[in-house]
Symmetry: C2
Amino acid sequence: MGINLANFLSSKSKSTKMIEFQDLEHMDGLSISTVSANLYKDNRDDLVLFYFRDGANHASVYTKSKIVSENIKWNLNQKNKKVFSLLVNTRNANAFTGKQGYQSLEKIANMISQQLTEKQKKDEDDPKKINSNQVIFGCTGTIGEVFPEDKIINQIPNLINKIKYTQNKFIWMKAALGIMTTDTKPKLVMEDCKIGNKKVKIYGIAKGSGMIHPNMATTLAYIFTDASLSNNLLKKLLIKNISTTFNAISCDGDTSTNDMVSIFSTEKVQNPFIQNIHDIKLKSFDISLNKVLLNLAKRIVSDGEGASKFITINVANCKTEIDGKKIAFSIANSPLVKTAIAGEDPNWGRILMAIGKAGPAINLKKLSIKFGNIIIVKDGKIHQSYDENKVANYMKNEKIDLNISISTGLKHFTAYTMDLTKKYIEINADYRS
Amino acid sequence: MGINLANFLSSKSKSTKMIEFQDLEHMDGLSISTVSANLYKDNRDDLVLFYFRDGANHASVYTKSKIVSENIKWNLNQKNKKVFSLLVNTRNANAFTGKQGYQSLEKIANMISQQLTEKQKKDEDDPKKINSNQVIFGCTGTIGEVFPEDKIINQIPNLINKIKYTQNKFIWMKAALGIMTTDTKPKLVMEDCKIGNKKVKIYGIAKGSGMIHPNMATTLAYIFTDASLSNNLLKKLLIKNISTTFNAISCDGDTSTNDMVSIFSTEKVQNPFIQNIHDIKLKSFDISLNKVLLNLAKRIVSDGEGASKFITINVANCKTEIDGKKIAFSIANSPLVKTAIAGEDPNWGRILMAIGKAGPAINLKKLSIKFGNIIIVKDGKIHQSYDENKVANYMKNEKIDLNISISTGLKHFTAYTMDLTKKYIEINADYRS
């Protein structure tokens, strides 16, 4: 399971670092600690605390599901400008847990804020009082089970004890491992960039869409920067860049109750003040943030359950980006397309089917389909050079590019997905047997 | 592959006949003949001709795909009030075949109409001249391959020679077998009913959504009645009843270029003239037509690729039927739900996930979920009687009913689907290997 990431990243983009894991180092203003509350009963780390000693500006986007977990409700209710802590737990999604689940978070937030306030008194020249509404939560795991309040509360002193003010690659790796559920690989990404002439860092970790009964597919991604950027700007940057990254991936078309992508800025770098997202000084940061998000999103897809191939679907020359997205996802979510690719079968007819059912009007006479650089359909006709053996050979690659041109306009959209294999069914159907 | 139909039909509805195949008999005004044009190179019947010696009123609904096959384009271009013939071929979908595909149909329609006109001269007291625009087509099979015009044309004399004026159960079975692609069972259904005090018959055959490279999922269903009903009324009846039958099933959420459901009335029974679809005299026909369509649709689902379980999803107490449909299909098309059911895993969390992502607003406090009659969630809480072993036992059934109540209104929708098994992947991915 899982695709060789180095492999597909190397052929994708020169700017993306061609290594399996990036080493994330120290980031000013951020501390991480991890412990095991033994939620999985195997002593793996299952609680990860992020602590911002001077607070952090922040923004989050959440699942669009109409049924959301208690931690998302909690987070949405806290309106504080700065957060001081993010606690992530695995094994229990705190979804469909009702009052108990919400009240547990209240207790935990109270306890964390009290103990961090104590810590401030000991460690800081200018100690701050931290409030419970400055603590937010990420949860992933089983839904509908009682939230393990006591087990988590018991570990809070431990979590806070372990806080260090210098981070290294090992603690980042522990954090990335600590938020995993059924992922087979931790996901860590970093980019350096500039705001004005000031160097800033963007670090990110994520967990993917692995789901084994009775867990749900949950995407969690946490981005950290030492730049100084307002909540408002962070929100705009996140929303802008999520649409072509986390909202451009599909593993099985399902959406969890817990999906959460957040960005935090510790404001330790005194970069020029930026008010407007279109400010030219923000360009390098904007591009790098997109890279971090896209790289994490791709790692989630390539670690998708049972994935044997990474599929990039480029839909070009559409009337609107929404048209492109509809067509790209119609292909990305089609079990027929995904099984054909798993079987290394160059079944362009199924792609045509998925284009046709997507919704947007198609001018068949101008449609073109390429597998990689191999032209299959051009101007609505099977291309004269079409050679099934050549395409069948292409299908053996681990990374498949489907390039579609609709010729109804100038917009485009790119989606990322994986194939649908017997392994997926095994993981999702046979887990109990 | 395939579910024991008798089994699930018997528990579903007392009015649905509890037999594997119904014997369809003679229908006045309709003749059927089948031949092999050797399109599959194994001499199976692959051409089925339906001939209406006095013409038939008719109505059809077609795929909503933006890319449609040449036969659908042909059918939509023929505006004649009566049709005299429907020719169905398998093995080649006549989709993405361009001018050649369309012109082939033109030639074939010319030839059929000429030869049927000759036949009329021989056999009828009042011979009619049949025009090529009184011939329509159903096609299913490979897309993008040259349409086998010559092979089909060569068999037309043979097809017409074999026409008999009395039909029996054997010719109906041959017709149902002749339109199959990867279906494992022929699908034939009948109902008797009345219009006013006149007895009329409704017969139907269908083929399902089997798809093996490079075929597409194509649903074809043909309904025949000896009643006297206008084109306009047939169209209204078809549109009304399709929404709760053929448009309520999902095998894998994919849509073909060729889907087609048609109804033909031979007008051999002189029933009272009906102008309005709400005419009380039409009620029995309306109900019986729904039964025929629903029964055929269910047979398609239960013969869906790799299906081991038949799933009925009832979404009740919705604000609108559209809300109910969105939620039902969100569940029906969720790979996570479908794999859980394949694994006999009572994973209600995944159902909750699918309800949440469907779109319509949910009042969690009033949500209820039952597996069959077993209450899982009531008023937004896990029910006190919830016993996982009991539910796990229920999941062993071949027929699974998911009963959901949203409590936002009074409307409901029922969808039908099957589970997602390794067999599905084998059929769709590994066919070539």
